[in-house]
Symmetry: C2
Subunit: 423 residues, 2 copies
C-alpha cells in the first residue's frame, strides 16, 4: 500500500485482536478475583506493568526514556528527529478496585499504533511517542495526574517527589524502589498529543455512538461546606424553635442540583459526601459537613456557579438563623482542546465510517495537563453502562479497535508520512 496517497492511508488498520490481547495480558498484573485490577502507582505491580510495556515498546523498535517523576516515553524515530514528537499515552496505575481499561487502553492503543506502523513499514516525518504518565489516579499519592502535572508545570517536581503515602513512603523513595527514578530536566516539546480513553460516563452508550470527539475538559471547583445549627432533642424541641443543620443542608443539596440543571447540557454539580453530627436518630442535627463539586466547560460559567452557590448558602443561613461556611478546596480551570486536533479526530472518525459525537470530558485526564503546553485532543470510546473505577469496568473490543484506528489516523496525519517501505 502507498500511505502517501489517500487510498493507501485509508487502507491501514490496527490489529484489534492484538490490542485486546495486550490489554488482557497487562490486566493480569494486579488482577483481582472480581475481574478488575489493583495496580497502585509505584508499587511493585506498577513496576511489573511498566517493565512489560517497556519490553513491548523496545520490541516495537522504540527507545525508552524515563524522566525524574517516572514518566516513561517510548519513542519511535521519525525521518526528522529535530521535529517535536507526536505523542499519545495515558497511565497504567489503577484505582484499588479499578478495571482493565481506564488508562491502560490509552497506553496500549498507542503501542498498537506503533506496532501497526512497524508491520506496515511506515515511517513518519516527525517521531512518534507513547507516554506512560506516573500516578494518574492519585489513589496512593496525591495530587492526582502527578506525572503529567509535573511535565506540564502544574506543580513542581520537588513538590511531587516529597508527597507520602499512608505508610509514610515518599514518591521519591517509591520511584527509586521500583527503578523508575529517571533523569531530571525540562519537559521536551510535543508537536501534538492525542489520548484515547474509555469515556467513564454514559453519554456515548446512550446515543449509540462509538467515537467521542472531546472538545474540552470541564473546569472544576470543589468545596467543603459546613452548616452549624443547634443540636437538641428531637422530642422536647418544638419545630419553630429548631435550628436544624440537616434541614438547611438538604435545601442546599437541592440548590446545588438546580445550579447545574439551569446550565445544561454540560454543567454538573454534585454533593457526593455528607456527614451529620451527632447523627443520632432522636437528636436534631447540630452540624452537617458536605462537599460540593461544580463543573463547567467555561471559566465564566464556573464562576457564575460559584457565585450562585455562595448566594444560596448566604440565603439559607439568613433564613434559618444558621452559620454556613464555604471553603473552596480544589480548582481546575476548564481546558479546551486544540481546535485543529479536535477537528482531525472528528474528520478521521467520519472517514473511517464510525458513528461519532462531540462530548466534553467531565473527569480529569493526563491530556488536560498536557494541553497546557502542547496542542492536544482526546478520543473517547464507550464503556459498558458508563461504569469505571470499578472492577466490573468493561468495553467492547470493536469500540476499542475503532478508537485505536482513529488514533492511528490522527497521529499519522499530525506526524506526516515520510516514506513507505515494502510491507
Amino acid at each position: 500500500m502507498d500511505l502517501s496517497t489517500p487510498a493507501g492511508a485509508a487502507a491501514l488498520r490496527i490489529d484489534g485482536a492484538r490490542l485486546w490481547q495486550s490489554l488482557m495480558e497487562l490486566a493480569r498484573i494486579g488482577a483481582t478475583p472480581k475481574g478488575g485490577v489493583c495496580r497502585l502507582a509505584l508499587t511493585d505491580l506498577d513496576r511489573q506493568g511498566r517493565d512489560l510495556f517497556v519490553q513491548w515498546a523496545r520490541a516495537a523498535g522504540c527507545s525508552i526514556r524515563v524522566d525524574a517523576i517516572g514518566n516513561i516515553f517510548a519513542r519511535r524515530a521519525g525521518m526528522d528527529d529535530s521535529l517535536p514528537p507526536v505523542t499519545t499515552g495515558s497511565h497504567i496505575d489503577t484505582q484499588p478496585t479499578g478495571g482493565k481499561f481506564d488508562g491502560n487502553y490509552g497506553v496500549l492503543a498507542g503501542l498498537e499504533v506503533l506496532r501497526t506502523l512497524g508491520d506496515a513499514g511506515v515511517r513518519t516525518r516527525a517521531p512518534l511517542e507513547v507516554a506512560v504518565w506516573t500516578n494518574e489516579e492519585g489513589s496512593r499519592f496525591v495530587p492526582v495526574m502527578m506525572g503529567s502535572g509535573v511535565f506540564a508545570g502544574a506543580f513542581t517536581l520537588a513538590h511531587a517527589l516529597a508527597q507520602r503515602d499512608a505508610q509514610g513512603t515518599s514518591v521519591a523513595e517509591a520511584l527509586a524502589a521500583i527503578g523508575y527514578a529517571g533523569e531530571d530536566g525540562p519537559a521536551h516539546a510535543i508537536g501534538a498529543y492525542f489520548e484515547a480513553h474509555i469515556e467513564q460516563g454514559p453519554v456515548l452508550e446512550q446515543h449509540g455512538c462509538v467515537i467521542g470527539v472531546v472538545s474540552a475538559a470541564l473546569g472544576q471547583r470543589w468545596y467543603d461546606v459546613t452548616v452549624q445549627g443547634m443540636e437538641a432533642h428531637a422530642g422536647p424541641t418544638p419545630m419553630p424553635l429548631r435550628r436544624d443543620a440537616l434541614l438547611a443542608a438538604s435545601a442546599l443539596v437541592a440548590e446545588v442540583n438546580r445550579i447545574a440543571m439551569e446550565r445544561l447540557p454540560h454543567a454538573r454539580a454534585t454533593v457526593g459526601s455528607l456527614e451529620v453530627f451527632p447523627n443520632s436518630r432522636n437528636v436534631i442535627p447540630g452540624r452537617v459537613r458536605f462537599s460540593v463539586d461544580l463543573r463547567a466547560p467555561g471559566d465564566e460559567q464556573l464562576l457564575e456557579m460559584d457565585t450562585a452557590l455562595r448566594a444560596a448558602c448566604e440565603r439559607v443561613a439568613a433564613e434559618r438563623g444558621l452559620a454556613i461556611d464555604v471553603q473552596q478546596v480544589v480548582y481546575f480551570p476548564p481546558q479546551p482542546f486544540t481546535p485543529h486536533l479536535v477537528e482531525a479526530v472528528r474528520t478521521h472518525a467520519a472517514g473511517l465510517g464510525y458513528s461519532a459525537m462531540d462530548v466534553v470530558s467531565g473527569a480529569g485526564h493526563d491530556a488536560v495537563y498536557v494541553a497546557r503546553m502542547a496542542p492536544a485532543a482526546m478520543i473517547f470510546v464507550p464503556c459498558a453502562g458508563g461504569v469505571s473505577h470499578n472492577e466490573i469496568e468493561d468495553a467492547e473490543p470493536a469500540h476499542l479497535e475503532a478508537g485505536c484506528n482513529v488514533l492511528l489516523r490522527a497521529m499519522l496525519a499530525a506526524a506526516g508520512v515520510a516514506q513507505e517501505s515494502a510491507a
Copy 2:
C-alpha cells in the same frame, strides 16, 4: 400548723436548700470533669447511687422493697396501708455524658417530700412511695425505660433480664452483681403517680414559666428509610442521566419537616441520622439511609403523618426513578395523662403562685409507662437553654424547689392528710 385546714396545708413548704444539697451529693457519684454525671444503669456507680438513696429513704422512715427488675420502692406508711400508695419517682441512671438533674431530680424531689412531711409530723391516709426505676436511659441496655416498662407490662421481665450490654453482660447478671435483683411478683397497684422532671426542652424558658403542666406524652413512630439510586462518577455523568440518592433523600428531609410544620404546635418530625454511600466527593451517591422520627399527641394525627411520609417517599421514588424503602422500627402510642391529676398539678401550681403553662412531653419518661396501669401526671421545671443529656445540663434551684412544692401538694391531696402531730 394544721394541715387538715386549707391554711395549714398552704403553709407547708419543702426545703429547697436540702433538695439542692442532695442533688449535688448524688451527682458526686460518677461525676465527670466537665460537671456532668456518667452513671450507667446497673454499674457499680449505679449501685453506689442506689445505696445512698436507700440510706436516705430509711433515714426518712421508709421501708424498702426491690422488685425483680431492680426497681426500688421506698414506702412511707399511711394511716390506711390497705390503700394503694401515692407514688412518685424517676430514675438515677444517666447518659454517658449526662447531667445532674435528668431523673435524679424526680427521685430526690420525692425524697424531699417525704423528709418535709416527716419534719412536719404529717401522716397521710394512703401510703406514699418513691420509686427508683431501673435503666430509664437505655444507654447500656435496651429497651429504654426498662424498669417502668416491666412494671407496667409493656414487655416481660424475662425479655428485660435477657438483654445484654456491648460486653455481653446480661441485665440479670448485672442486677445480681450490684445486689439489686429483688423479689419476683406482680406489680402492686398505684393510687396516683406523679413524676417531677426537668423539661429537657426550651418551651418553659421561652415562655418564662416555672411549672409545666404536662397534659400528655407524644406518640412516636420511628423509621429507617433507604433510598437506592445509582452510583456514578460526578464528572462524566450529565445531570439528566443521574439517579442521585442524596438529592432524593434531601427532598424527603424537607418533606418530613413539612409534615410536622403543617401540624403545629405539638407535632414533631426529625431526620436525625443520615448516611451516604459511598460518601466520596466526586461520586454521585448511590444509596442513602436515613432515620425519621415522627411525634404527635394523638394517634390519629400520628397515623396521618405516617401516611404523609409514605406518600412522599412513593412520590419522590416515582419522580426520580429510584427505589425507596420505608421500615417502621419503633412505635410508642401517645399517652394522655390522667385529667384529674393534670388538673391537680395546674391548680396547685396556681395556688402556690407559680407561673405555669400546659405542655406536652416530647420525650419518653417512666411516667408514660406507669400511666398505662395507674392514674398519672408529670410536673416539668425549666432547664437552662433546654439542654439535657449533656454534661452542661443545668437548672435553677428556685425552679427545682417550685416543682417539688407542687409535687408535695399534689401528693398530699391525692393521699389525703390523716392526722397532724405536733411539729
